[in-house]
């Protein structure tokens, strides 16, 4: 396939990796966080870590919307789906996420709730149009990549004059999460993750552009290289990060120039701003309550807001106490550090959200990486965690 196959050339990847090995300083250890689950998946699936020298380490970030959605919001969605008059439309990724008391959307569906998996928010609008007797609720999640689609679906429902369509909005913002990872002031030393830079978001950046990362790179003195999701994109971005570190630079660079511009997609930004506004605060799994980190539907579109319509009041709910998802999402632990990993927790029976989504660090490690743990039984269990430089 055009624009895919050429970025998976194994020979070229190994050759660029050889350049990384040559340029990475022998007396230095490099730790880079790939923010996105899409990058985590690519790194695991294509064995990018095996190409890198031992002193270049990748740390998985929180950029997986399914993984960072707190349990309380899944509980809310299940309650919405259980109402006799509602049809809850959701992306398939959310169906098996564990909620409180062992519940999930899949189990609610099996118990008779009208919960349907859809490909596009447009499908939810079309269901509402075709079935006027049903109150259709779209369970919207995702970073800035997915938000414009939800905005356009609400606009379409309004143009069609639908009164039986609403959105349970859980859209979150990438720059706020990067800030939460870097801004560790006031946190105990064990909760600070040492990083030398970020592989920055790919498709989020097609919407918001590279400009929003500029202030973060400067304030925290960490290089950011926006990169595509193909393995060669990731390898090239790592080389660009190594070069920035070696040259003492901390700027935003764009590896994904075929899809991402400085300013991003202005039409998408306008559609988002028309429908959504900032929430004061929103809970993220692993990162806690983050100010100005999520969106809600504006008053002018209240008719389409499931939270207002059904008076949703989220009750915070605890994760499985043994689940290490929270620390994995912040880069403090690896999947193998969790005692549930591969024992009671696997993609078939996930205990935590990181094992559900194929982009989650645990699912990626289970599917593609766990043979490495067996090959290296003497590998240290816990990553060294040091104070931020």
């Amino acid at each position: 396939m055009k624009y895919i196959d050429e970025y998976r050339d194994g020979g070229l990847a190994r050759s660029i990796a050889a350049t990384i090995a040559k340029e990475a300083l022998a007396d230095r250890h490099y730790r880079f966080m790939e923010f996105c689950g899409g990058h985590t998946h690519a790194i695991s699936r294509y064995g990018v870590e095996d190409l890198l020298p031992a002193n270049v380490e990748m740390v998985h970030g929180p950029g997986c919307p399914v993984c960072v959605l707190p349990v309380g919001r899944i509980d809310d969605a299940i309650r919405l789906g259980m109402r006799p008059e509602t049809t809850l439309c959701t992306y398939a990724d959310l169906m098996r996420v564990p909620a409180s008391g062992g519940a999930s959307l899949l189990k609610a569906k099996a118990a008779g709730a009208d919960i349907r998996m859809i490909y596009s928010p447009m499908d939810a609008v079309l269901i509402a149009e075709a079935e006027p007797a049903r109150a259709v609720v779209f369970f919207a999640i995702g970073f800035e990549t997915t938000t414009p689609s939800t905005a356009l679906a609400i606009g379409l429902a309004r143009r069609k004059g639908l009164t039986n369509f609403s959105v349970f909005c859980n859209h979150v913002l990438t720059p706020s999460a990067i800030r939460a990872i870097l801004d560790t002031q006031g946190r105990p030393e064990t909760e600070r993750v040492r990083l030398d830079g970020f592989v920055g978001p790919a498709h989020v950046s097609t919407v918001i552009g590279t400009a929003p990362y500029v202030a973060l790179a400067a304030e925290f003195e960490k290089p950011v290289v926006v990169a595509g999701f193909e393995p060669l994109d990731v390898v090239q971005a790592i080389l660009m990060l190594v070069r920035q570190v070696n040259e003492g630079r901390s700027v935003v660079e764009n590896q994904y120039i075929r899809a991402v511009t400085n300013a991003g997609n202005r039409i998408a930004q306008r559609e988002i701003a028309e429908i959504f506004e900032l929430r004061e605060t929103f809970e993220w799994r692993g990162l806690g309550d983050l100010p100005a980190s999520a969106l809600r539907i504006r008053e002018a579109y209240a008719l389409f807001d499931a939270e207002r319509r059904y008076r949703v009041v989220t009750t915070p709910a605890a994760d499985n106490p043994a689940c290490e998802c929270a620390d994995v999402l912040r880069g403090l632990k690896t999947p193998a550090d969790c005692k549930l990993f591969g024992t009671v927790c696997s993609p078939e029976t996930p205990m935590g959200s990181c094992m559900v989504s194929p982009e989650g660090a645990c699912a990626a490690h289970w599917t593609y990486g766990r043979f490495r743990d067996r090959a290296k039984p003497a590998a240290p269990k816990a990553r060294p965690v040091q104070a931020a430089a």
């Binding site: 998976r8 899409g38 414009p148 998408a268």
Partner: protein
Amino acid sequence: MCLAIPIRVEALLPEQMARVTLSGVSKVVSVALLEDVQVGDYVLLHVGYALTRLDPDEAERTLALMREAAVPGLPAPGLPALGEVAA
């Protein structure tokens, strides 16, 4: 979740929709987020909406920069491609 695939625009349809194909599968998607989409353009498709147009010149420049970053003569020929081994 942020998965998006490069896909070719085959025909423009009313109401800012377009017909696209990928490996023989045809689908009608929204191009409302893009300006001046043309038949033959490659766009990144995400949950039924085209997010951005792929720039063929920048794609070529990226590959050129990758080749430039490679160590000449490496790797030895005959190594397997990255990819579907674990799928």
